[in-house]
Each structure stands twice: as structure tokens, then as C-alpha cells.
Amino acid sequence: MVEDDAWINAERTADALVVAVGGDWRVDAVANLLRAATATWTAEKAGDGVSTAVVRARDISSLDSGGAWLLVHLSRQLEERGFTTRIDGLGDSHRLLLDRVRKSADRIEITEVPPNRNALVSALATVGEAAVNACKRAHELLSFFGLTVILLGRVIVRPWRLELTATLKYIERTGLDALPIVGLLAFLIGVVVAFMGATQLKQFGAEIFTVNLVGVAVLRELGVLITSILIAGRSGSAFTAQIGTMKVNQEVDAMQTIGLDPVEILVLPRIIALMITLPLLTFYANMMGLAGGAFMSVVTLDISLTQFLDQLSGAIDFTTFAIGMVKAPVFAYVIALVGCFEGLKVTGSAESVGQRTTMSVVEGIFLVIVFDSIFAIAFSYLGI
């Protein structure tokens, strides 16, 4: 092995400590040499008339900057123990390298590295920073919201400014492509709600009200909520990653330099597309959810499909349906806004794209639920 070809020995003569070194002093060998060196002279101290140390390097057959650093490091250690140290017998080319490394090594020793903060202080500082950042972000998000509203207004006045192709592309990606998963999930939710209702209501002999439960829960809350959460995970994250990658590649900067407004080009089509698709998806999810509930009712409750529909039409009215649907465009705006906002906040690195994407999904879902509860409170005040 290469590593065994490098060696170090220390020996005391009458007037000096002689450290003989040799072999391949390369970076692979440094780990072993370092250990050997520590073992060799931990006990050595200048004194007893011996105050010089000589590093005898004539047997060094090859040297790289790792090895050279070690020579410098060792002679410095010897000096710390009170020896005046010199390195002897190094070949010319090795000497050149050693001098170069020594110069750098001196510089890195004297340069101060900022000390670590005390753990408690830094923990407190982290909490404080996080709080301040959260407020800052809320503020920024709000101004971004304002900006998009102004631009949307402008597009309504001058619709030909809208990037139609891009908008249609996002409608396809966020809407059409999401149909299978949204449909499946809504159906399953309908099944679960019906099953829960059935098992509980059976105890009172009121199984038939399972239909009411399914109708109201799916139409008012679950349909739109499930769709929005899914779309926040699916499309909100995609928006962030797309815009973020463009930021990393400086495409966004390039747009600005040729007078294109990134918000208008990148953000508006996405917001508009999502505001079109999310209500449609919600309607679709509502239908699938009801279908799931009907399926479960027919299978486990001995309710026929006609009975189900009869009961349903008594249980719900247009308001129930409208309450669910009204929320959809609002949630769409929130999701698209957060997705694009986080995308534009990406800085420089691939890492940051990942962080921002995570953040966009978390914030998107969080805000959707917050808005949902605001809606619930508002509706209860209005008595609907």
C-alpha cells in the first residue's frame, strides 16, 4: 500500500531532536503520519540543553501539497514545544512547493474565523429571526397580491395582452391532467364519509340520513377542500419549481432586460388558468364524491339509487352547492399566488428551488385551510 511507504521517526541526539521523515508524503498518507507523529513526540519538550529540532527530509521521495502542509504543521508543533525547527535536505522542486504551502498555511492560521455563537443565544436568535421573517413574508405576499390584482385589472381592460397560449397550456396541465387523480380521490372520500355515517347513524336507526351527511359534507366542504389541497401539492409546487428554475438560469433577469414584465408573463397566465380549472375540478370532484357516497349507500345500506336521489334532493339545495363552488376561485388564487411568489423568491441555487417548492406547498395548503375557516365563520354569521 502507498500509505505504508511514508514514515516518520524521532530521535534525540546530544544536541538536537532529529525527526527523520521519508517515503511518499502524499495526501493519502497524511492521516497515518499525523497519528504516528503525535505518538512520537507527545512527551518531547525542549530542555536538557536541546533546543533545536531538525526535520531530516532527504528521504522524501514524493511530496504533494497535503504532505507539505503536514511538514509545515509538524514544524509548527515542534516550535510550540520550544524547539527552533528547520527542515533539512529537501529537493529543489519540493522546496518550492513547501515554500508556497507555508505561505498559504501562515495566512490561514492568522486569519480570524468568526467564533460560534453561544448555543442559547443562537437558539433565541433563530426563533426571533423566524418570527421576523414570517411577518416580512406575509407583508411581501400581500404586496405581491396587490400587484397581481392591478395586473389582472389591466388584462381585463386589455385582454389581448394576455399570453393566451401559455394560459391554455396551464389549463391543460393543471386541469385536464389532474382529472383522474382528483376524480379517484373524491370518489374515495365519498365512500369513506358514507361508511362513517352509516356505521354511526345505524345505532339510531337513522341510516337514511347518511345521504344528507354525504350531500352536505361533500358539496359544502370536502369536494373543494380535497381538490384544492391536491392542486396545491400538484400545481402550486410545479409553478414554484418552473419559475424557480428560470430564476436560477437567469431567464427572469433576461426577461426584465428586454422589457418584459415577469409577473405579467409568468404569473398571470398561471393565476388565470388555475382560477378557471379549480372551479371546474371542484364541480367534477363534487359529482364524484356524491357518486362515491351513492355507491357505498347502495352497497351497504339497502338504499336504492332512486331513494338516494330523492333523499339527496330534500337534503341539499342550490345554496349548499354554491357555498362549495364560491370558495374554489378564491382557493385557486391563493394557491397560484403562493406558488408563483415562492418561485420568484428563489435565489441562485438548486437547493433554494427545493426549499421554496416545499414552502409553497406548505403555505398553499395552510392558507387554503385558513381561508376555508374564514368562509365558515362568515357563512355562520350570514346564517347560511
Binding site: R26, V27, D28, V30, A31, L34, D64, S65, G66, W69, H73, S93, L96, L97, R100, V101, S104, A105, R107, I108, T111, V113, T347, G348, S349, A350, E351, S352
Partner: protein
Amino acid sequence: MDPGNVIEVRGLVNQFGTNRIHDGLDLDVHKGEVLGVVGGSGTGKSVLLRTIIGLNRARDGEIMVLGQDSRNLKGREARRLLRRWGVLFQDGALFSSLTVEQNIAVSMREHTRLPGHAINRLARLKIDMVGLPLHACSKYPSELSGGMRKRAGLARALALDPEIVFLDEPTAGLDPIGAADFDILIRDLQRSLGLTVFMVTHDLDSLVAITDRIAVLVDRKIKVGTVDELRMDDHPWIQDYFNGPRGRAAMASHGRD
């Protein structure tokens, strides 16, 4: 393989689709030299470099690096060969989620059993040797200027004291003073560390200033020679290149008219 050569390429053929980039290309790189590789845009300099370091599979031909066939190595052998060269990619390719210091420490952690403090010192040593200020240690690549990224990339390429360094356009995008500094740095490191340098470049000043020999990629093959030899070559592209206005300016400024 000739013992004086660190790289030998024989009959290399590279082709993407129907687009043949190299066709029976031969090249020798001598131990301890600085070899400049030039050629028009899209002639396959980067592809040649990637092929030699094994990132691109050649369609045909033989490539020996440090006495080993770089194409058919696996496992331990490949790892051992890998650490004997360092690469500076055309755009730096620093790991964007790591600080400069961590970027350099990565390969030391991976390939040696050095204790943490030694890795830390050696990484900083490399940072200083390539002329970066030490406060750059804890910066992320996105916080550096283009020139600093190049230096950081070079420091990473040198992390394990390789025998060969491959540089893809190291001075592209640097200001002339920065580029000249970088040239001197490469020459200086090459002398003190005993490196062999394989350098793709468009920079005529670097070529004249620091290369020992120049390899020109023309007609899907390579012609090698010193500046003076190549100036005598009657291939039209080579004539244009070295005896065009910029070529002559570069020669003149280095006193080789």
C-alpha cells in the same frame, strides 16, 4: 504506453446521431506539460475532455490515462484512477448547496481518512493557494462572482493533489487582468505541484503564455505542435487562428513575433 505519456488517445471516434464529432483522433499528452486544446466552437473540445475522463462513451478507439484504460474500469480501480485527476468544468459546476470550503472537502472526505481538522486546514490551504480570500470559505457558490467561482472550481479540482488537471475554458468570462492572473496561477501551481494540465481554451493569450504544446481540433482530428510549429502549418483554419489579427497581437505581446 510510452512512459513519458500520461494520456494516450488512439483512433477515437465520437458520434451523436449522424453527427460525427471525432473521426480517428490520436493524441498524446506528456507528463508534466501544459497542453492547450483549441478549435472552433462546436468542434468537440468539451466532448473530447468528457470522453477522456469517462463521462462520455466513445463509439470506438482506445484511451489510456495514467497507464489504465479509463473506459473499462470498475469499482476500486475506477475510484483509484478518479482521484488521480481533477476537473474544472466549463461553468464551474460547484455544488450549489455546499459552501466553498465544503465543496473542496467533499473529495477529501470521500477518498481519505483524514481527521476533520486536517481536512479543514487542507481545504483552506487550497482556497488560499488559488488566490481566493479566506472569507470566501463560508460562502455559497451563488454568492461568488464568475471569476471567484472559477478559482473555487480549481481549488476543488486540486483538492486531492491530482496528477492531471483538466480545465475547460478556465479563463473564459474573466476580465483580461483576471485572466492573466489565472494563467500565472495555473502555471505556478503546475510547476510547484508538478501537474500535467489539459486545458481547453479560446484564449490566445493563455495559449501563448503558458502552454508547452497546442492541440488543434480541425477536420475531426487533432494536430499538435508548439506555437511556432503551428504557425507554419498551412491548414486554413490554423493559419487564420494564429496569423489572424488577434493571434498576431497575442504573439507580439509575448515577444514572439
